[in-house]
Point group: D3
Chain length 236, copies 6
Amino acid sequence: MRPSGRALDELRAVSIETGVTKHAEGSCLVRMGDTHVLCTASLEDRPPPFLKGTGLGWVTAEYGMLPRSTGSRMRREATAGKQGGRTVEIQRLIGRSLRAGVDRVALGERQITVDCDVLQADGGTRCAAITGGWVALKLAVGKLMKAGEVRTDPLGDPVSAVSCGIYAGQPVLDLDYPEDSEAGVDGNFVMAGNRLIEVQMSAEGATFSRGEMDQLLALAEAGCAALAEAQRAAVA
Amino acid sequence: MRPSGRALDELRAVSIETGVTKHAEGSCLVRMGDTHVLCTASLEDRPPPFLKGTGLGWVTAEYGMLPRSTGSRMRREATAGKQGGRTVEIQRLIGRSLRAGVDRVALGERQITVDCDVLQADGGTRCAAITGGWVALKLAVGKLMKAGEVRTDPLGDPVSAVSCGIYAGQPVLDLDYPEDSEAGVDGNFVMAGNRLIEVQMSAEGATFSRGEMDQLLALAEAGCAALAEAQRAAVA
Amino acid sequence: MRPSGRALDELRAVSIETGVTKHAEGSCLVRMGDTHVLCTASLEDRPPPFLKGTGLGWVTAEYGMLPRSTGSRMRREATAGKQGGRTVEIQRLIGRSLRAGVDRVALGERQITVDCDVLQADGGTRCAAITGGWVALKLAVGKLMKAGEVRTDPLGDPVSAVSCGIYAGQPVLDLDYPEDSEAGVDGNFVMAGNRLIEVQMSAEGATFSRGEMDQLLALAEAGCAALAEAQRAAVA
Amino acid sequence: MRPSGRALDELRAVSIETGVTKHAEGSCLVRMGDTHVLCTASLEDRPPPFLKGTGLGWVTAEYGMLPRSTGSRMRREATAGKQGGRTVEIQRLIGRSLRAGVDRVALGERQITVDCDVLQADGGTRCAAITGGWVALKLAVGKLMKAGEVRTDPLGDPVSAVSCGIYAGQPVLDLDYPEDSEAGVDGNFVMAGNRLIEVQMSAEGATFSRGEMDQLLALAEAGCAALAEAQRAAVA
Amino acid sequence: MRPSGRALDELRAVSIETGVTKHAEGSCLVRMGDTHVLCTASLEDRPPPFLKGTGLGWVTAEYGMLPRSTGSRMRREATAGKQGGRTVEIQRLIGRSLRAGVDRVALGERQITVDCDVLQADGGTRCAAITGGWVALKLAVGKLMKAGEVRTDPLGDPVSAVSCGIYAGQPVLDLDYPEDSEAGVDGNFVMAGNRLIEVQMSAEGATFSRGEMDQLLALAEAGCAALAEAQRAAVA
Amino acid sequence: MRPSGRALDELRAVSIETGVTKHAEGSCLVRMGDTHVLCTASLEDRPPPFLKGTGLGWVTAEYGMLPRSTGSRMRREATAGKQGGRTVEIQRLIGRSLRAGVDRVALGERQITVDCDVLQADGGTRCAAITGGWVALKLAVGKLMKAGEVRTDPLGDPVSAVSCGIYAGQPVLDLDYPEDSEAGVDGNFVMAGNRLIEVQMSAEGATFSRGEMDQLLALAEAGCAALAEAQRAAVA
């Protein structure tokens, strides 16, 4: 029934390739099917000004899409003169999600910026960015720990994200672009272990019931658990 | 236990005053306790360009805060040269939520812009904006129907929104600013009748369990039902 | 002869409601007929950088119109990415006018920002903003004096403003929108007591004689005197 | 008593050199003492969109200062990314003033843009820009009339502008920069023949009486009359 | 003598991997040593407005660097609100260079946009972008020819680019970042076959002789010839 | 053969008038035929932040064109909200060229900004700006030396610039606008004495041979030598 032939609760093929750029303190190329996102974590010794003297660290994120990562070319945001509303919304979500999984006292007064740049898009780019962003972050933190600059690991369970939605009347896991562009109801779920971090269900020209909400939450729990495995393997 | 002395499942005092500006096709001043939002609905005969010839209507929203609607003065966005990320996120949410409650075929090829301007803020401004925005929209649509330009009412159950969160370890309904600034987990729920339109739960530096999610959903259902009553009374 | 039936030298109904927002140090809602402007005065302990160490205070103003304060919806300036020329001109006028009525030594090294936001427009918004802005300013200064932070009152006679113009060949006082959009010659007069602060007469596609200028000055003197009464009553 | 030794009612040396650039339809370099402004009038066959089909013409103006036209270098507005408030205010004044002296029916459906660029500033640049701008405009209109594209001269008496102010307690004509930077009260007067077009008196940290206003108007009338002579000579 | 141990006239290892993204009409990942640039060519059926009705086609280019493509993270241009001067200069060069190798009549009234995004930078990114951009362009044009939409191949000899400079007193070919950051004199050469398209020699705090210019030209001729081989192999 | 009747290797009439504005530390109006550029050098005692404490000085440049310096009016960059790509490219070239002729240790920790504003354009404005910019710079440095603030002259041979190109199949020197708009190959050469500083040859829809490159270099050498004479005479 799904265009890709996947089962309703089946993730796309996941691959996480680490160490893909020589400059960043942590990096990976995450692939969720045909969605490919390059994630880098950049370390700065100084925290943002509002944290000076607090002893707390900060993790922030930025998101972008290459102009031809999509089926038809999009205008480059640098040319347009500003990041669009969708971009701003996504990068705020990525930053908030990653911070929820960080012990900011253990991190200490420094900032890590996670850049997530979509090389090829096929739906679910923000979820892939969170999943891959956590891997890049973990690798950068690993360097800090190896160098003795951070003593207690500020990261715990992997922060994973997956989209779910109602496609052709059925709750499905990990929508690709053909599904995403059809679904009237879909959303993103971010988890760490069995805890929720973000739930963002949206309906565009449709609504959903409390029962459907429960089914989607169940799909997301299973999907995030599988992604966490892949993340753990990648940073091992 | 709550700073305001309210019960865990108690809304703030709600008031919706309609017809507050002589120019707009629909308008109201919605008050949720000390949060006051002026909502206007402006009718344009032309739909946005991407809908020309489709027979479909459009509803969009814009959101703003007066610089001194808050405890300390905020920079005016017109001076800053752009709307901030939070503003963009909120107005996209308002527009999406209102559209979910509109039959765009019945509305016909026209656009209604709902402006939500916060005169005084005390938490929950985006929810008040959706609740009041629907009232302004309903009044504007009423004019179209009275004039015979629209035959079938494109609006059904009121679209209502309320925030919920975990404050001092307890799930609570309709957070005011003192609660909102403390809560590590909170979110917004948009409903029409007993159907969900948006669920946006966020954790900043915290996480939440599936059981807490269920409790928050239950609070939201009751809260939105009460708001819908107030909306129906206002437009009667 | 005037669309509203007013006499040539008759002001619209004036009302000044104070304390309309709980956050601002001073606030009022000024109504000149159907022109409604919300004015707030926000206190900052630090003066602008160019006054550091001089002992002098500063008063500045910002002006905005809600998108549907007017007959047809205007584009929101925050969305347009900048304040238009008219807005900039008006807020510079408000700031300059209010400063002319302030003893900046007595105020001391602090800044007060007066925000004037038009909720409903029917001509003469900049004059209403000055008149109401002075009231908000006076209330904020009153708090400073009560707290002993300012010893000598830095404010003297109320700063009041009114528009005058030549409508249908006759000099008239306090133009409303139907008059304003017809008048080829009109202007704004700002006074404190019997002293002039600003005179801005403009002709668009017309000219005026020295004799007409004298008549308009006389109308403005009477109008400002009446407004000053209302201002004094509001802050009493 | 004046730093320049001029009498209270004495203009600076005025010179208007026409035909200073080979591309513009009309141009002049106007010098009021050490204030030098290059004015060009550019003709476009199409009126602005809002006038299409009305038969009316349009005159608009833009103003700029070279970065080192002033005592200390100013930031280039093109680098700053926008025109400052002062610039916007000035170019709106220039455009409005010139239009007041144009018969827009006689001009026909076309637009003339007058650019006024300050090469060297010593006070009174906006007045020099209006005075010189009219000359450039007249020359451009002359070409249209010679070519038979315009039949009736849309221009009448020269539009002239001069500043006046209260310096060291005395009303003075045509302030230069040393006077302008000291004067608490000053303004600009635009006239055509014996008719007024704009009166803009401003007080910064001061006020003025009705009697002083009358003296300033008298100075301006004499000053504008002398400038009109120079303009007539330049275009003869 | 060179940090990398290369001979003075030795290129870095070149690799051009084609078909790297599923959406673009043409794409490649070009690697010059550690400089990696993703190039895509996007086809639009419409030419830019200024070419409508001329029968001529257009090729344009945009350039960007991922924020952490460099040793220390750069600010994202979409966040900064504009493309920097260096970016603008580079993308103008890429577009001009590629156009010099295109028969715009043969291409017909359509536009191809070549996006060059630097994934990892180690000097010479603009040259790699031109070399890789031509490959992406050739592949996109190939699709047009296969589909019969273009009859005569609008592309001839590959357009290749290489940098040269004076490092430690010696003319060297294809500078990497350690060399580039030391060289006082360096430049970029673009060629097609044995013809020159662009020569851009710059000195920062240094100068160079006519003899040195001749040596650099000779190095560039050999380098471009070798790159053209790699380009031909990639598109074969 | 040339539209102007000049010989292939003939410069336009050159004139350099110094001291043209009373405020700038150095200034000139350079005329290359009908191309007129006003150049000013402005001295700041502080170097840019990145040079603080290094003992090195800085020279930077900005470039602009008056809106009607050209045959048809161009949009003012301050109105457009940013400097265009061409402007940015040119001012970077001017700054880089002038710095190549400055001993930054001898200059000491200060910055000189050279503004080059085109009053009238007829081709070759960037070259005229460099040639005139050096004169303004030399005059400003002369003031510093006279005042004893700089001991050793940081400037040596004049920095001169000239354009060359292939017009109607022939290499020609110093293209005017009619030639420039026809030439498929042209470029700019910057020299100091017999040393090269910049070579920027570009082809738009054409290519050139190594032999032609050599001819253009020879023309440029002769042209720059003649310009250096004029520069030396101007500052004598």
